[in-house]
């Protein structure tokens, strides 16, 4: 299971939201990325998480700077509206792109991206929240509803040829509640269809153990940024129980 450090970036600054809202400034994303890589994190994910909402792009110069002197996979996304955007990220040194809103707004363009990059380089992001007894999914920084539930969203992503899933529990984002355990069975049902990364609320390393059989990765942001958890200790725990 990969331990993935997610860095949300807005106008060149590392930020962190709480429940996809109330963004606070953290610092210089390149410095944080360097620290995480020094601590042997498995993968970096650079997300312009207000990108679709405000129609902004990730700064390619910053991506190139972060790429330097790092021998690990980097994915990036947020605000991708065309296959040119996706190509630009790859040409700037990313190995994968992460897409959510565009899937719900212009699926044909997403198919073009998958054709150009290969499905293994396209991660489909899903933002979900529990409403009554339903898991609804959202996009544009959790402002718009897709009209689908979690299971149907996963099926739709499968149909269009998405390679990997990033599933985020909006209500746990930035809240240190621990990962959502209620959706274990849903994830388990799709574990042979997709590599799945879960995010939202990670704080206890024991969650790695809970999910070790079905998750391909866990995405962690605030817990690392705000030093609630050390990357090196998280990796050490993972190595102890999985390898």
């Amino acid at each position: 299971m990969r331990i993935i450090s997610r860095l949300d970036i807005k106008m060149g600054t590392l930020i962190k939201s709480v429940m996809y809202d109330g963004v606070r400034k953290i610092g210089n994303p390149a410095e944080y990325a360097n620290d995480y890589v020094e601590s042997s994190v498995d993968e970096l994910m650079l997300i312009n998480n207000t990108g679709s909402l405000y129609n902004t792009k990730l700064d390619l110069k910053l991506i190139r700077e972060i790429r330097k002197k790092k021998a690990l996979p980097i994915s990036a996304g947020g605000g991708i509206t065309s296959h040119e955007d996706a190509e630009n990220l790859i040409q700037s040194g990313c190995d994968k792109v992460v897409i959510n809103s565009l899937i719900h707004k212009n699926v044909d363009e997403v198919v073009k991206i998958i054709d150009a990059l290969g499905s293994s380089s396209v991660t489909g992001a899903i933002q979900f929240e529990k409403r009554d007894d339903n898991y609804v999914t959202l996009y544009e920084m959790a402002r718009e509803s897709t009209g689908l539930n979690l299971i149907d969203t996963v099926k739709m992503y499968k149909d269009i040829g998405i390679g990997e899933l990033l599933i985020t529990d909006i209500k746990r984002d930035g809240c240190y509640t621990g990962l959502n355990k209620e959706i274990y069975d849903i994830i388990s049902n799709f574990k042979d269809e997709f590599p799945i990364i879960l995010s939202g609320g990670f704080i206890n390393v024991e969650d790695i153990n809970h999910y070790k059989d079905i998750l391909s990765g866990i995405s962690i942001s605030s817990a690392f940024h705000l030093k609630k958890l050390k990357v090196s200790e998280t990796i050490k725990y993972r190595n102890k129980i999985i390898y």
Partner: protein, 221 residues
């Protein structure tokens, strides 16, 4: 083609990186710079055919390599090997070395015997992603020939994989290493004559990957 009967490599001691089609070379070039390996990058094979080793990088979709480009590449790469040149294919670049690919739906370079198939045909898996251990216990491989590329690498460390197709080789003389995928073995490293292919990305495999890449780049033939 006879990979085992080629002349001595007398080419210039520099690594060529072949930017074919739309493949992404960024991470690889970045890694070569990290390990201070001099390289020459070109999308024109004849610009680098004087390099003593050439890397075929690999990120992208096989479908994007046109039929014309594939047959041009096949001709160039084969004559380079017959001049004693060394080829190292990474991921898609490794898959290209075989005879055909289900992803492209047609013939590929045809240097190694075998074909590239969808992982889900044989393994309970759609996409192989993440860091995996190589299995040094099994497989048809000769220590001396392969282990030199792992000099200084802890054999228990993991290498990074990201692929939806795998190389189903069909030649007993290809030395290979495998990984375990859902209790089955998948071949991921191939070596014969002066041709090496790895399904894993050394350039994305942290320190061990860089060490491997440096060995491949600098180890005398």
């Amino acid at each position: 083609m006879d990979l085992l009967n080629v002349p001595k490599n007398t080419k210039e001691k520099i690594i060529g990186v072949y930017k074919y089609s739309s493949c992404n070379v960024n991470s690889l070039v970045n890694a070569l710079e990290m390990i201070s390996v001099s390289y020459k990058l070109s999308s024109n094979f004849s610009d680098i055919s004087n390099c003593y080793k050439i890397i075929l990088p690999g990120v992208g979709n096989m479908k994007n390599i046109s039929k014309e480009n594939m047959s041009y590449m096949s001709k160039e790469v084969k004559s380079y090997i017959l001049e004693g040149g060394f080829i190292y294919g990474i991921c898609l670049g490794c898959q290209l070395l075989f005879e055909s690919s289900d992803e492209a739906g047609r013939e590929t370079l045809g240097i190694f015997k075998g074909k590239v198939e969808d992982i889900s045909n044989n393994y309970k898996l759609k996409l192989n992603i993440g860091y995996k251990n190589l299995n040094f216990e099994e497989g048809n491989w000769q220590e001396k020939k392969i282990l030199k590329y792992f000099k200084g690498v802890d054999l228990n460390t993991k290498f990074y994989f990201l692929h939806r197709f795998y190389c189903n080789y069909d030649d007993e003389k290809i030395h290979n290493l495998k990984i375990n995928v859902n209790n089955k073995k998948m071949p991921v490293l191939f070596f014969k004559g002066n041709v090496l292919g790895t399904q894993f990305h050394p350039e994305l495999s942290k320190k061990s990957g860089l060490n491997f890449l440096k060995n491949v780049s600098e180890m005398p033939l």
